[in-house]
Symmetry: C2
Subunit: 431 residues, 2 copies
């Protein structure tokens, strides 16, 4: 833990610094895998699954039998939890539906936006030790609500060729149509280009390791859209003497256990509170199975003492955290000052885990300072707002001359002419 | 003109094909320019302006005197046109303001989204023969409405070191704070990294040539967000015997004059109409100053005869045009079938020029098939939707157990513990 007391503003740039992430050195490897998937389709996916995931697959699609089996394999308790989480995520994302109203910008000129779902989306769910079934709910639920026709999910199988049953059940609850056994770069390639089994999609969502990130970046240059750039997960907690040190310590640790590169920042106006949290973190850390990971992440974490709340909020806005917990009693006032953050948790009881799993907000959020320019996944992520316009004869008369003069000054005479032929036709009719 | 009658579906992929755009061969040049801007700031920008734009600049910022001079240099007629266009663009984009309502997903669990402007945005306006002042209005007006603090604009000067006056007046009308003389890759680099004069921004908007596109792609991998990927401009017109061949020909030509790589597609159910447009295009083409460019673009254009409107709409949705003109009498019915398009123009009088300049919709739109996954620039492009959540004690009780079981199954025990310490505290209080 690095304890920093009353840093000068000139020192802030060091506090908010992120590890340098450059996946470009992976680009050659990633490119060759993508190229092979593009050219050889399923056969290449199966080959890379054997090489990287040590599994021999006959086919990529998860079968109906495997789906049914998954339902039997998970506990009722977990099933109920998934249904509750799905309900809340669905309720919040449904409330984000957009209905554009028609705007008459001039008499006879009407413009509007209409939300139209992206037809085909691809969701990537990493494998590894912890099966991220919560991410299935987060990515598939809004896709279904948006009305995407085809929701494709790729996730790596284990060495027996099986997908974690909780991932399959979450996919079923959320309404995923098509699930394939493929991980890493080969999964991204399969969804970007399409193979005999895996449909080509128009946008790819989901987390992953550095190879997956590099692959998403590469395919996004030409072939498909992606949800957002990615980096290690992070939390910033703003606390004072009204905050609960046990809760705050637990929140910091929940971030720290993600990975050794996780970012954990506490900003507080109370020195006494800072040391209380510091002690409490040590106590709680001992109980954690992922103690080693968490403690490495904590080595890079920062506990910052600042003079007042104003400064705390400014430092947080400069950092632009993925998760921001305002654990003070005056969270309402502070929340008005949030400029740069992915998701904000207000008060004692809104822990990050609530939003990670079940409150209803999305947990796919901008990390690594990307909150300066990006927001997390929401219903908009699965839609495009297409603009429409209609002009009456009166509309043409009202804006036609302005269009003519502007087009003429941009030396685009055919643009001008498209308006002139209409104005002329109206004039001829009137005569 | 390529006339294609009743193509089979298997031939559609050829009709909707776009020229292969690969800017990666420019990457080495672009990277070295970006690198130099990053390291040397203003001095490098001035050097590249001398090299590429053949101008010797003392300073990059446009002065107050230059702004005042610009006002004197443009005609009253153009000034009025800019004000009218700005009014309509502002009215439409103001109507896109978002006010997120609070949603109680479970008793005691409240979630909402809040729209927060991106603090610093950069707008790039290309130079060249035609000064794109209309793009200044399209990019700066929503930035101002969103409430972005810093709106930076870069545009290349002429050989005398002057910026086109209409660009400066449009910038002033739309509320741009800071205008700099810089073009091409050096402008993108200056806004991505910041120099002594040019502030670093968080998102870059605007069109440009292949070098600008490549530069935007490169900086978007690490440093800033960008509006969207780009390609040549394109229009698809759907017409029948109720359409006006003179109007349709003018619309096709207004697209064709953009560049030799512009894409122009007419889809019609009437063979008679197709030939009428074909004749009319030849007549109108003769009058155009950019006749040579337009006629090269027309060489690659396609006039497609299909059996019915259903098929016309399906072909258009497969093509995913930037601009779609439904010039038939039954445009209302057809508009319901639009899935993939950037901006849609309905009826006889809604020509593309209307939206390019003055109706109020944005003209920065997804080209090159990107309409499958992207929409054009709108107010959302300048905002992030930050999520907020608040939990009461009741809220913790309602979702806490589900969070615990899900976290446990994802083997993230610190995540579970963040909820457990809160549930425990509530239990202790109750006892």
């Amino acid at each position: 833990m690095n304890i920093i007391k009353y840093p000068k503003r000139s020192e802030w740039s060091i506090i908010v610094e992120r590890p340098h992430l450059d996946v470009s050195q992976l680009n050659t490897t990633v490119q060759s895998v993508l190229e092979k998937i593009k050219n050889e389709g399923d056969a290449a996916v199966i080959e890379f699954e054997s090489k990287f995931d040590h599994v021999n697959l006959q086919s990529l699609a998860v079968s109906k039998e495997e789906m049914d089996e998954a339902e039997r394999l998970i506990s009722d308790k977990l099933h109920h939890a998934l249904v509750l989480a799905h309900h809340n995520i669905a309720k919040f994302h449904e409330s984000q539906k957009f209905d554009g109203s028609k705007i008459e910008t001039q008499p006879g000129v009407t413009c509007w936006q209409k939300s139209v779902p992206i037809q085909k989306v691809g969701l990537y769910i990493p494998g590894g030790t912890a099966p991220l079934f919560s991410t299935v709910l987060m990515l598939a639920t809004p896709a279904k609500i948006a009305g995407c026709d085809e929701i494709v999910l790729c996730t790596p199988p284990n060495r027996e060729g099986k997908v974690n049953p909780a991932i399959l059940v979450a996919a079923k609850i959320a309404g995923v149509n098509k699930i394939y056994k493929a991980g890493g770069v080969q999964a991204i390639g399969a969804m970007a280009y399409g193979t005999e089994s895996v449909p080509k999609v128009y946008k790819i969502f989901g987390p992953g390791n550095q190879y997956v990130m590099a692959a998403k970046q590469q395919v996004s240059l030409h072939d498909v859209a992606i949800d957002m750039p990615a980096g290690p997960s992070e939390v910033c907690v703003i606390a004072d003497e009204t905050s609960n040190p046990v809760f705050v310590a637990a929140d910091l640790l929940s971030q720290a256990e993600h990975g050794t590169d996780s970012q954990v920042i506490l900003i507080t106006t109370s020195e006494d509170f800072l040391y209380k949290v510091n002690d409490e973190v040590k106590v709680q850390l001992e109980q954690l199975p992922r103690k080693e990971i968490a403690s490495k992440a904590l080595d890079n974490s920062k506990f910052v003492l600042v003079k007042d709340k104003e400064e705390a909020m400014e430092l947080s806005n400069t950092y632009a955290p993925e998760h921001l917990i305002l654990s003070t009693n005056d969270y309402d006032e502070l929340s008005e000052k949030v400029i740069n953050a992915g998701s904000v948790f207000l008060g004692q009881y809104a822990c990050e885990s609530a939003g990670d799993y079940a409150s209803g907000t999305n947990h796919t959020l901008p990390t690594h300072g990307y909150a300066l320019a990006y927001n997390g996944v929401n219903l908009d992520s699965y839609n495009r707002k297409v603009t429409f316009q209609h002009l009456t004869k009166e509309g043409v008369k009202n804006i036609g001359p302005a269009v003519e003069i502007m087009a003429e000054n941009e030396q685009l005479i055919a643009h001008k002419n498209a308006m002139t032929v209409r104005l002329q036709a109206l004039k001829n009719k009137a005569e």
